[in-house]
Amino acid sequence: METVVFFANIGLWTCVAILAVYTLRHYFFTLNRLFGKHRQPYVDVLEADWPALVVFVPCHNESRVIRDSLDALLTCDYPPDRLVIVPIDDRSEDDTRDILVQYANDYPGRIQPFLRDDGIPGKAAALADAMEFHQEEVFLIFDADYIPGTKLIKQLVAPFFDPEVGAVMGRVVPLNVSRSLLTRLLDLERSGGYQVDQQARMNLHLVPQYGGTVGGMRRVALEAVGGWNLDSLAEDTDLTMRLVIAGWEVVYQNRSECYEEVPETWESRMRQIRRWATGHNQVAARYTGDLIRNSAKLPFRQVLDGVLLLGVFVIPIVLLIGWSCAIILYYAGYPPEFNRFTILAIASFNTVGNFAAFFEIAAANRLDGTRERIRMLPFMLLGFLISAITVCRASMSRKSWFKGHTMSWQKTARHREDRVTKKPGRNRRAKAGTIA
């Protein structure tokens, strides 16, 4: 019994320590955003000799949304002679392919679809195949439901004038906010994640995460770190980590905002989280060691942030272990050691720690200047609980930690019914913004 109590004690205190670190991290990031220096060195690069660019749009059954995305890309203000749009159709079963062919005919040279019927399924493999045919300096990627603004492409390319930048990430803004309780919660969550988390990492020279869409990479950097990892479910985090470990910088551009369609049903949201958690944990298993070995001589703060970033989807498991240890200790009649300190710690955590994420979201909404939507904050508890359960399930699966699973298209259901952009004129650059 003493051995059980000993290990339960160690387990409990380890879990408490880990949770405390993440709590501090939340507060540190939030306070940095509220009171720290806002770092956006590339946002004013307005005139430049813009490099040759390819925008890839991976598609799998995207007929509901792909037209909006392509129309928005066609109206961007990037020099048309230096921009190629490559929608990648990977085995769509709806009429996505017909739409792409139609656009290629309407905009010859500007839209060059890549049609794929075999090979490994999935976004990473599709991108790897399509990129083989391009030697341009910069690659940007947008998911098919994203609607970039007119200025967005230049904003995302500007950081690549810095030779240290390997990848860039813009900000994702939900378009279908008003559709349901879930979409409203996701809107709050996205605000916290981008306006606070990502920008704080940018401010503090830590590890902003390339998120696989509304972003891109320098071609030579991608090649130098070995290209796309085809068996990764989170090819974006996988690439972020390999770039950082190699010594490249990943940059977040808070002003480079792009609309997306967030999941409208809890089922598709849970599927999305499961995929993220599984993929993220795969990356953690692969690269945590490399990051700690730090062959690129990264500053300690960057390594620490990288490790904490890799560990975010393990937190629900840590919480579960902590609860289990506490229950074991309680029924064994051995309360945790340092009793008064424990009570103080639990009280502190209940009053401060549990609210770290809420504080972060509230701060993000304040920074965004949105006053009323903050009233939805108490409902975030529901979102967190569902996320925690889903992440826990995903994190305990074998797929999360071991190689050897079959790749398939894991995509979020689209719900859009009406067009949100106007169709641009053929072979010309529209000037006005296109969001209806």
Partner: protein
């Protein structure tokens, strides 16, 4: 008399209060959910960001709609507000208070020194202002010469050449479709034109020689991030008159010595100096201050997170625009920038 409640009533009372306490924060949440007040997508796509001539374009469109380019100039706008006309034949009255109405300047007639325009101005012919004038906004259809100590409060856009004399203040945006010449001691925020010159002095530039004309230099203490991308975990100095093929990222200071050449871009985590006569074909970025000395050339953009001191150097080239951007920018007489100069906090030309 003491009221004694049965235990089950007390229990229910406490339970009710507890649930009320628990659900109190949910009341505004439920109200927002049932009757949304703030459920629109964030206004993510700003149409004026990244476009320095946005206001000028809107203004031009409005002036065309209102017929302000026609003769005679209409006396009122569509919304009923009056339009003032200034010409040799019909000059504006001399007054101490600012002109608050829309002003159309139809010829090169001068106005009184110290005039203040608190509304939009349209200059339909070449405008040569007098010292100590204050404009809110100014659209120049031809050339515009702003005399000493002019203050521009929001923006000036000129289709021809824009000349700004010393000790002026260009708050906001100053843009030209041809060229801008700025005198010394001019405060500015954002300048943009195919050519921006500070002063009229010509600085002697070193010739641009092919890279093989320089003695080849390879950083021996760096490692390759990718082919021709060197990362150096220390300071980096490219010795004088040497040529480096590729880009360099250094975690310390970077110094490109006199008359040397780099074919790629540079990044310093600390300060970065491009010495006199040196040439950088790519961009120059630093977390610390950047100094580009006399006679140096940088073909790409110059980006600092702290400050840029641009001496008599050339940034960009005709047909290859570039941006000079930092919180603090000082541009010396003799400097030429093809593109834009953006000072987020404090920009000034100096002697």
């Amino acid at each position: 008399m003491t009221l004694i409640l049965p235990p089950w009533v007390a229990f229910l009372g406490v339970l009710f209060l507890m649930l009320l306490w628990l659900f109190l924060p949910l009341i505004p949440a439920v109200m927002e959910l049932v009757k949304p007040k703030d459920a629109a997508p964030l206004n993510a796509v700003g149409s004026d960001s990244g476009n320095l001539t946005f206001f000028a374009e809107s203004f031009t469109a409005r002036a065309q709609r209102e017929g302000l380019f026609n003769d005679p100039v209409p006396e009122k706008l569509a919304d009923g507000s009056p339009v003032l006309t200034h010409s040799t034949a019909k000059p504006l009255p001399i007054q101490r208070k600012p002109f608050t109405d829309f002003v159309v300047i139809t010829d090169n007639a001068r106005f009184a020194e110290g005039t203040e325009f608190a509304s939009e101005c349209l200059a339909r012919s070449t405008l040569i202002s007098v010292p100590n004038t204050t404009f809110r906004t100014l659209l120049g259809v031809q050339d515009v010469v702003l005399a000493q100590e002019t203050t521009m409060l929001r923006w000036v856009h000129v289709k021809g050449h824009l000349e700004v004399a010393s000790n002026s203040r260009l708050l906001g945006r100053a843009t030209s479709e041809q060229s801008i010449t700025v005198g010394p001691q001019v405060v500015f925020d954002r300048l943009s034109a195919p050519v921006i010159r500070v002063g009229n002095e010509e600085v002697e530039m070193s010739p641009v020689l092919p890279i093989h004309a320089y003695e080849r230099f390879v950083p021996d203490d760096g490692r390759l991030l990718a082919p021709q991308y060197y990362r150096i975990d220390d300071d980096f100095t490219l010795p004088a008159s040497r040529g480096l093929s590729g880009s360099v990222v250094a975690t310390g200071k970077v110094e490109i010595d006199e008359d040397s050449r780099v074919t790629g871009s540079l990044k310093a985590h600390d300060t970065l100096i491009v010495r006199a006569g040196a040439i950088v074909d790519g961009s120059v970025t630093a977390r610390g201050p950047i100094r580009i000395e006399d006679g140096a050339r940088v073909l790409g953009s110059v980006i600092s997170e702290e400050a840029i001191i641009l001496e008599g150097a050339v940034i960009g080239a005709p047909g290859h625009p570039a941006t000079v951007t930092a919180p603090l920018v000082r541009v010396r007489v003799g400097a030429i920038v093809h593109g834009a100069i953006i000072a987020a906090k404090d920009g000034k030309t100096v002697v």
